[in-house]
């Protein structure tokens, strides 16, 4: 009997511990979010920290965002164009590419891009600061780490992600236009007429709201993983991996459920 209990223990105790850790992390992240939002009240006194972060996330991401967007536009037009051609509907490429970009591909691709480029860097930077006691040093200097480190990154992610998405949508649609013209002989004018006819403001707005929430997720997950790192350089690498994976999963799951909610 005793042996049996032990076997059961070996299964349930770690499981319970994992679950507790998970809920604790979620709780801590929500608290971090609230704290970051509250600290936004002093944003104007901290512009020296917010603006460089905005530059890093926004302007510095433009080259890779352009490249990603234009190729996604190309391939989207190419794949759908072949199918549409069979029905003689090539002129609808404008609607398909622009709506696809605005609703899904723009926000999700930009989020993935920012997770890889910015989220990983945020976690690595803050985790290194944690393990080398720099966060503790900030506290002893009466500097709140959430105000000093989290709030600027949070604000930059939430504002710059939607702006990046507008840009990505635009470039992706342009890419689609190029392929439509080159392979399917759709004139630019017809393509963009089609875009303006079918693409609604609502499509754009929904994509932008989504991307702002992705910004919240990426910044809070990355900062939280960084702040809770203890140990040495090995843990910094592990925290960065965990942060990227958790950001991906959260973005995918949130994206699916919000899309479903909006379609109902």
């Amino acid at each position: 009997m005793k042996k049996k209990t032990k076997k059961v223990d070996r299964f349930f105790v770690p499981l319970g511990q994992k679950l507790l850790d998970f809920f604790q992390s979620v709780g801590e992240m929500l608290l971090l979010l609230v704290e970051a939002v509250v600290w936004c009240k002093v944003v104007f006194r901290n512009l020296d920290k917010v603006l460089p972060q905005m530059g890093k996330i926004g302007a510095d991401s433009l080259p890779i965002a352009s490249l990603t967007a234009i190729f996604v536009g190309f391939v989207l037009a190419l794949q759908t164009g072949v199918a549409l051609q069979q029905f003689g509907q090539e002129e609808d490429l404008g609607a398909i590419v622009s709506i696809g970009m605005a609703r899904e591909l723009g926000p999700v691709l930009t989020a993935i891009l920012v997770i890889g480029r910015i989220g990983a860097a945020i976690t690595a930077e803050i985790a290194t600061m944690s393990v080398s006691e720099e966060i503790d040093a900030l506290k002893t200097l009466s500097i709140n780490p959430v105000r000093y480190l989290v709030m600027p990154r949070f604000l930059a992610c939430v504002t710059m992600l939607p702006i990046l998405v507008i840009y990505v949508d635009f470039i992706g649609t342009l890419g689609g236009a190029a392929v439509a013209k080159a392979y399917f002989k759709v004139p630019f004018l017809a393509y963009f007429d089609n875009v303006t006819e079918y693409l609604t403001f609502e499509d754009m707005a929904k994509g932008l709201v989504k991307s702002a929430v992705f910004g919240v997720i990426i910044s809070i997950v990355s900062c939280h993983k960084g702040l809770t790192t203890t140990g040495g350089p090995g843990e910094v690498g592990l925290a960065t991996t965990n942060s990227v994976v958790l950001s991906f999963v959260s973005v995918y799951v949130f994206n699916y459920f919000v899309t479903r909610l909006w379609l109902e």
């Binding site: 080398s132 006691e133 720099e134 503790d136 040093a137 506290k139 002893t140 200097l141 009466s142 500097i143």
Partner: protein, 257 residues
């Protein structure tokens, strides 16, 4: 002030890390305006005790009083106010690598926003000169040696004009000459600036050189405390073992003279 000259009063402090009972009822009174060394082996809980004093860790049970004010266990305005009386020099210096030396030293003052840029620059120059690093403002922490980084960290601590300065292993990893320099710098802070100094160390040379009071922590408890002379004469076997090497060295040195 009605503090009976006690700067830090630790009462029955307990701390667990998961299943590890690190501090097991620490009682310690640190007099104001003196230098106190907390000594002990690796993993005895010295740094953990130090972090409790400035509120970086909160006790699982027991309490800490700073000039008769109880340290709050949660982040609050009162904790910020108490922390303002402290500065801490970390073992690895903990300078912000993205900022240069001058920005690191002035960081606390800039973020406080009470002084003008010129006043802050003045304080930074003054404090860097005090630690012997005049004109190094624009260098990056990565370009400095370990000893220099430590001195920048001391300058950063002094810039906040604290009443109490905590040092976590200030001489670990430094060559003997640099260690000696840091020791005399710390002694100077107490003698000239009348600061309360707490040093966590396992370097007994350093402890005997600077401290007015030496406390030994062993298995999460204070097992001995007293003046350096009394500490040397202690019959506590743990203390005897800990300082035997130091005594032997000093004895040899004495005979050699």
């Amino acid at each position: 002030m009605g503090t009976n000259g006690i700067a830090i009063d630790v009462r029955q402090l307990h701390k667990w890390f998961r299943n590890n009972h690190v501090l097991r009822g620490v009682d310690l009174k640190i007099p104001a305006g003196t230098a106190t060394a907390i000594v002990g082996g690796s993993g005895a809980g010295k740094s953990v005790l130090l972090k409790h004093m400035v509120g970086l860790l909160s006790p699982d049970s027991g309490s800490i009083y700073i000039f008769n004010q109880e340290m709050p266990s949660k982040y609050s305005r009162r904790l910020e106010e108490i922390r303002r009386r402290f500065a801490m020099v970390f073992q690895g210096s903990a300078l912000l690598n993205s900022l240069n030396v001058g920005e690191n030293v002035g960081l606390g003052l800039v973020e406080q926003g009470r002084l003008s840029r010129e006043e802050i620059d003045q304080v930074v120059r003054e404090k860097l000169a005090l630690v012997g690093l005049k004109g190094k403002e624009s260098e990056l922490p990565g370009e400095l040696s370990g000893g220099m980084r430590k001195r920048v960290a001391i300058a950063r601590a002094l810039a906040m004009d604290p009443e109490i300065i905590l040092f976590d292993e200030p001489t670990t990893g430094l060559d003997p000459i640099m260690a000696q320099n840091i020791d005399s710098l710390i002694a100077d802070l107490r003698d000239r600036l009348r600061k309360t100094v707490v040093i966590v160390t396992h370097d007994m040379d350093s402890a005997f050189e600077i401290a007015d009071l030496i406390c030994m922590i062993y298995e999460g408890k204070i097992v001995e405390q007293g003046s350096p002379e009394a500490f040397c004469r202690s019959t506590n076997p743990i203390v005897e073992q800990f300082i035997s090497r130091f005594k032997r060295h000093n004895g040899e040195r004495g005979q050699g003279d």
